[in-house]
């Protein structure tokens, strides 16, 4: 994790709204994106993340609010003169041009000599690992290669911001994981602000310095991946990112920076106020990630707290086993994950177990 806060601001949203007729697609977006940051817009389809990206590119007008790029209001700046370039979901490789012509397309009005431009194209192609592909026809490329051409074509203009609209969604799993790492490397190398739109929470966590999680046209939380994972601001965010067990709870007392709750199956727990991020008025629940729960073997002692349980389901993943466990004679079921290490047997459905957990891993949603 890099410290992004001391970097200058590259993009700023001030109360951005977007309507399509009656449909309110963006509902008051606020926030800043720092220069050189790898930023992700994450959310389910229809949450407005692509719309927001397209307003940055200038393909969509905003209904109200302000978008600033590098200190400049973009209200009257058309898409073709904004300091942004985009990698499209379909890659949008021009089918009637060669790879070279595609990559060099943005240099058409560049005053440099023909030789210099050709050198720039060759460099851009080398940067994305397509050295020697210049003469190929665009339609003869594989999905991964098209993606690289689209990247080279956008990066050759040295934009201040590179916009990526679900660029990896069309690739298979192996290729996707490979490209994730390549994109991170590339971003570090060129130092340009990257803004990635994705619905894949894992992809966002792996690649981003910071992530804005969006639901229904609003940013639900804007934070670095670790904060997002460990301290989700709302139950919805917690549910969207990774797996989270939700356990019904009631609030007993709230004093100073302590909140005391009674969680079903876990008992009384005292929480720090930092573990209870935001009041949203929903029924109180506490959240626990599967990996913060541990099964205790034999006479192992729990470092902090423990609760009895019965195994309801066993899901074997090879390196890991997931257990669904009923807590302390209640109907509260939690999922927990155990690494399969030698000498630790996989347990069976119906086995009585002891579950260790730590109060500091809890998050309260209320």
């Amino acid at each position: 994790m890099t410290a992004t806060d001391d970097r200058p601001t590259m993009i700023e949203f001030k109360d951005v709204h977007k309507y399509y007729g009656d449909y309110h697609a963006l509902r008051g977006i606020n926030g800043t994106i720092k220069a050189g940051e790898f930023f992700s817009l994450l959310g389910p389809s229809g949450c407005g993340k692509t719309t927001l990206l397209r307003t940055i590119a200038g393909f969509e007008d905003i209904s109200s609010g302000v978008i600033m790029i590098d200190g400049k209001d973009m209200a009257d700046v058309a898409a073709n003169v904004r300091p942004t370039n985009m990698v499209f979901q379909s890659y949008a490789i021009f089918p009637h041009m060669s790879v070279e012509e595609n990559v060099g397309f943005g240099l058409r009005k560049d005053p440099r000599s023909k030789e210099d431009k050709a050198r720039a194209v060759a460099e851009a192609l080398e940067q994305v690992g397509l050295k020697g592909f210049g003469k190929r026809a665009a339609h003869a490329l594989s999905g991964g290669q098209r993606q690289r051409v689209a990247l080279a074509r956008a990066l050759i203009l040295k934009p201040k911001v590179l916009l990526l609209d679900e660029p990896l969604s069309a690739l298979d799993k192996k290729m996707r994981e490979h490209m994730q790492v390549e994109l991170i490397k590339l971003q570090r190398q060129v130092g340009i602000t990257f803004i990635l739109v994705t619905h894949d929470q894992e992809e966002a966590l792996v690649m981003s310095d910071r992530i804005a999680v969006m639901f229904e046209g609003e940013i639900a939380q804007l934070a670095d991946p670790e904060t997002l994972y460990r301290r989700p601001a709302t139950r919805k965010v917690a549910d969207f990112i990774g797996t989270m067990n939700f356990i019904p709870a009631s609030i007993l007392s709230e004093a100073g920076d302590k909140v005391e709750v009674e969680a079903k199956g876990l008992g009384r727990v005292a929480l720090d106020i930092a573990q209870a991020p935001e009041k949203t008025g929903e029924t109180p629940v506490v959240g626990l990630r599967p990996e913060t729960l541990t099964l205790l073997y034999d006479d192992q002692k729990a470092p902090e707290r423990e609760t009895d349980g019965v195994i309801d389901e066993v899901i074997y993943f090879g390196d890991m086993t997931y257990y669904d466990v009923y807590l302390g004679g209640t109907d509260v079921e939690v999922r927990l994950s155990m690494r399969n290490v030698p000498g630790r047997p996989v347990l069976d459905v119906g086995d009585r177990v002891r579950v260790a957990w730590s109060p500091s891993a809890l998050v309260l949603f209320r």
Partner: protein, 269 residues
């Protein structure tokens, strides 16, 4: 599944009825007799020579060519505007508007021709090749719109946005990206409109004011039995020309869709 009996002979009969008469054209065009009847009398290319020597026929062909080229050009240009608008933009009344543009496709041509004749005469526009071009453009534009809509539809919208994003203006984007990619569709539309106009009869007859136009001229010549064989020779040439033009048009249309990365479906051929 068991096949219903008689379907095969039905199909054969259908095709024979459809194409048999056309096949007779070249047969009699090379037949050495003024009488169009079996048995055949011997091989000759004389009818083609007689046809070529006919000054009136050459005049009619020239007029038809002028009309067809004009109609194909105007219809295709109008078609580009309409197709682009219908594929790319949303505007109030689009549905009814597009239906109205496509309507002449199913409107009886006789009605269109009569209505135009009445209107033109009442506002005092003299009948000429120009009025024929006007009328035929009305008939051909829906074909152009249909073909071009499919060409524009197979174009990924991100291609335009990508060009804009890379610094091009809307106009240079149209010129550098859209036009080259729909060019095969434009060509296909032009060729089909040309073919339709070239053998169109009703409007040419109603609005042509007696000017020699090929289709009308051929019809007239059939009154003279002696002229029939040379007309068959002309017909043979026209069939050949139509097949070549339409085949080329469909080839260009498919190539265009494939080039833009789409899948070929439907179409006229």
């Amino acid at each position: 599944m068991k096949k219903a009996p008689g379907l095969r002979s039905y199909t054969l009969f259908y095709l024979l009825f459809l194409y048999g008469p056309i096949l007779l054209l070249p047969i009699f065009a090379f037949n050495d007799s003024r009488v169009v009847a079996f048995p055949l009398q011997g091989f000759t290319t004389g009818w083609f020579a007689e046809m070529a020597a006919d000054q009136n026929l050459r005049n009619a062909a020239k007029n038809s060519l002028i009309i067809a080229l004009s109609v194909a050009t105007i219809s295709t240009v109008l078609g580009i505007f309409a197709a682009r608008a219908s594929v790319r933009y949303r505007f109030p009344g689009k549905g009814p508007l597009m239906s109205m543009i496509m309507l002449p496709l199913v409107l009886p041509e006789m009605i269109v021709a009569m209505a135009l004749l009445v209107v033109l005469l009442s506002i005092g526009i003299p009948l000429s090749l120009f009025t024929v071009i006007l009328g035929q453009t009305l008939i051909c534009t829906p074909f152009a719109v249909a073909i071009l809509t499919s060409a524009f539809q197979s174009l990924d919208r991100s291609l335009e946005e990508a060009a804009l994003d890379l610094g091009e203006t809307p106009w240079s984007t149209f010129r550098l990206i859209i036009l080259p990619l729909v060019m095969p569709g434009i060509l296909a539309s032009f060729l089909i409109c040309f073919t339709i106009s070239f053998d169109e009869f009703i409007i040419a007859n109603f609005l042509g004011s007696g000017q020699p136009i090929l289709s009308v001229y051929i019809f007239g010549q059939f009154r003279f039995p002696a002229k029939v064989p040379s007309m068959l020779a002309l017909g043979t040439l026209l069939v050949l020309l139509s097949i070549i033009l339409l085949g080329f048009a469909e080839y260009m249309r498919r190539r265009g869709i494939a080039k833009a990365g789409g899948k070929v479906s439907g179409g006229f051929l």
